[in-house]
């Protein structure tokens, strides 16, 4: 069986960037897939495990960063799609107003 590797990228528009709450959401979503999923702030890496909350938060990606995802495994395509959509939706936080929620 050949391994599927999927790539995706998305502009991070969330006002506070990849801070605590967005990072938790991203990590939780990533953990729901069996594929190995990695995240980077440039298309040539360095890549970090998107299922590791410490690594994701450690990127400290600010607003305006392009986030790159790559995934490998059975549900890799769905994983990349779901993750890029989460970022595109501003993590469902309505413009990233930190006071909301």
């Amino acid at each position: 069986m050949s391994t599927t590797q999927e790539y995706g990228s998305i502009l991070l528009t969330h006002a506070v960037g990849l801070h605590a709450r967005p990072s938790v959401k991203l990590t939780k979503l990533a953990k729901g897939f069996v594929a190995r999923i990695e995240l980077a702030m440039a298309d040539n890496g360095p890549w970090v495990d998107a299922k590791s909350i410490v690594k994701v938060m450690g990127t400290k990606a600010p607003q305006g960063t392009v986030l790159y995802f790559r995934a490998e495994g059975a549900d890799a395509a769905e994983a990349v799609q779901a993750l890029t959509e989460l970022v595109a939706r501003d993590f469902d936080e309505g413009g990233g107003d930190a006071a909301s929620g």
Binding site: A20, R21, V24, T27, K28, K31, S52, I53, V54, M57
Partner: protein, 130 residues
């Protein structure tokens, strides 16, 4: 699949403990068993073994409980509380060497994904490498 590891938060301040628990609830949700305690029995700042035992009980999971503490007394009293647990529970409760708020959120996120107690502790401790 084993039960999600529980998180027990032990602070010297009831408000810090409650606030930390609120952050975990809001950011990670209700799927992770959670207990918290802070303050001494007289309502002052401090920790009490009895309250720590109750917090561990609230957070109890067959997968184990990761304990997050703030300052020295919280750690020693937590160690004492663990020693008072029934033998079959003692081996399933660990104190994490991590900042209380960040550690609780990281540990809970990891626990949410079904990680083992060792993995949960490692994730919390990854924050502050020795």
């Amino acid at each position: 699949m084993s039960a999600a590891v529980g998180i027990a938060i032990v602070s010297h301040s009831a408000e810090v403990a409650r606030g930390t628990a609120d952050m975990v609830r809001q950011m990670v949700g209700d799927a992770v068993p959670l207990g918290h305690c802070g303050g001494d029995p007289d309502g002052g700042l401090g920790t009490s073994v009895e309250r720590i035992l109750a917090a561990i009980d609230d957070a109890w999971s067959e997968g184990g409980v990761a304990v997050l503490v703030d300052l020295g007394g919280a750690e020693t009293n937590s160690e004492m509380a663990i020693e008072l647990l029934p033998a079959e529970r003692q081996g399933k409760v660990v104190i994490c060497n991590a900042p209380i708020v960040e550690g609780a959120v990281m540990a809970a996120t990891e626990a949410w994904g079904g990680a083992s107690l060792d993995q949960v502790r490692a994730t919390a401790e990854e924050l502050s490498p020795p």
